[in-house]
């Protein structure tokens, strides 16, 4: 039994003081945000309906199913795959996915010899039009710090096995270029429709922290 006499309450003390960014609990943060929104609205800088629509767009309309459709088409259509690898921004726009945080897209393809992983070590750059908003782990210090120095350790964290003689290539999104990983098409999917193929394409497989699902993983699997 541990003899550590301290608890795990949320919040910890500071002996040093600093002048900004502090708040004691979530309700304080909530109050800060509410006050900010109220003031910005009152002073005419923002429109509540627009704010709601912005949130709704990324909560319900834009997400990794977009990217899955792109990948499925690339798997099924050799000419589309070539266009995607040559000019990803245009090829993705063919499916009407474009705009903010997807202005300059590059698609990188996993093969038998290369596995791609995407990160933004400096902030949280992520291809919104095809993947939606990034998950917490993508924006977190553990992922951002580790994947460039120990990508194999990150794959282990995700329970993903990879051979030591396969190249791992990490793409650090340091500019306004955004990366989409095209995972390898699973075997046993010959003749599948794009709709059915898309179901195999998980969000993590398009970041590089996972593979596409195998057909036998499809039943009952929640699509991330």
């Amino acid at each position: 039994m541990s003899s550590k006499p301290h608890d795990h309450s949320h919040g910890h003390s500071h002996d040093h003081s600093h002048e900004h960014g502090e708040f004691s609990d979530l309700s304080d943060t909530e109050l800060r945000v509410r006050t900010l929104e109220t003031l910005l609205t009152e002073k005419g800088y923002i429109d509540t309906d627009a704010v709601n629509e912005l949130i709704d767009t990324y909560e319900t309309k834009v997400g990794p199913r977009n990217g899955a459709a792109v990948v499925a088409r690339a798997w099924g259509d050799a000419e589309y795959r070539t266009r995607l690898l040559t000019n990803a921004t245009a090829a993705i726009a063919e499916l009407d996915y474009k705009g903010r945080q997807g202005e300059h897209m590059i698609a990188v393809e996993n093969t038998d010899t290369v596995h791609n992983m995407v990160v933004c070590t400096l902030c949280s750059c992520y291809p919104w039009p095809v993947l939606g908003l990034p998950p917490i782990w993508y924006k977190s210090a553990p992922y951002r710090s580790k994947v460039v120095i120990d990508p194999r350790g990150v794959l282990e964290d995700f329970g993903v096995e990879i051979s030591a003689d396969k190249e791992i290539t990490v793409w650090d999104s340091t500019a306004e270029v955004r990366y989409l990983v095209i995972p390898q098409r699973p075997s046993g999917t010959d003749g599948w429709s794009e709709e059915k193929l898309a179901k195999l394409v998980t969000r993590n497989s398009m970041i590089g922290t996972g593979y596409a699902l195998n057909p036998d993983q499809l039943v009952g699997e929640v699509q991330a």
């Binding site: 909530e30 800088y45 998950p135």
Partner: protein, 215 residues
């Protein structure tokens, strides 16, 4: 700047943990912060590089303790304060600003903010060239992370000229505007960056502007 945001190669944060069935937002205020950041951007008072610098100047102990939307909130508060948006007597009208309306949301998002610009000069490097990154440590904004400074890599993609963040983030310091520079994707060997014990098959790519290279 070598702030809390410059995380590449740091150690000791523990394993990457994926939350199962992660919601888009973990509290209502997170959604509001996303909305506020996206809604205030089109006011045109700051660009993406100024926004990033506002976040990365959060003291490292806070940057590393905050959740990501707390970082965004702290950054947004700075930008709002610096632009005196909430000062007494100041309104969007007195500032001559137009707010984003509901009917413009979709087109604004679809337009996004492309960073490519007309080149001011010919590209000095081409695919296949070896480059060495500069060793510098500005206290100002840069997108050349510490772990890639002073290393040699190979150019694998030429993107054209893009807004140069090191200048675009600092209108207050100098008047170089967006100062577009050639942007390249550079391929580095993991063994060159981190040392000979790394897997010789592994590589890291980053998108770097011409001024980041030793000329």
């Amino acid at each position: 700047m070598n702030g809390g945001q410059d995380l590449g190669g740091m150690q000791g944060f523990g394993p990457v943990i994926e939350e199962q069935n992660e919601p888009h937002f973990h509290a209502d205020w997170e959604a509001r912060v996303l909305g506020l950041v996206l809604a205030t951007g089109p006011l045109g008072l700051w660009n993406i590089d100024i926004g990033r610098h506002a976040r990365e100047t959060i003291p490292p102990q806070d940057y590393l303790s905050f959740s990501y939307y707390q970082i965004w909130l702290a950054g947004l508060e700075k930008l709002i304060a610096r632009n005196h948006l909430l000062d007494e007597g100041v309104t969007a009208k007195t500032k001559g600003l137009t707010k984003l309306t509901l009917k413009n949301v979709a087109t604004t998002l679809a337009r996004g903010g492309p960073a490519n610009r007309e080149a001011q000069s010919a590209a000095r490097f081409k695919v296949g060239d070896q480059i060495t990154t500069r060793n510098f440590n500005p206290t100002t904004h840069t997108r050349l992370p510490r772990y890639l400074r002073g290393h040699t890599g190979e150019i694998v993609i030429v993107h054209g000229a893009h807004v140069f963040p090191d200048d675009a983030a600092h209108k207050e310091l100098h008047d170089r505007g967006e100062n577009p520079q050639w942007l390249y994707t550079v391929r580095f060997k993991a063994t060159d960056i981190w040392g000979p014990d790394k897997n010789p098959n592994d590589h890291v790519h980053a998108d770097l502007w011409e001024p980041y290279f030793v000329q």
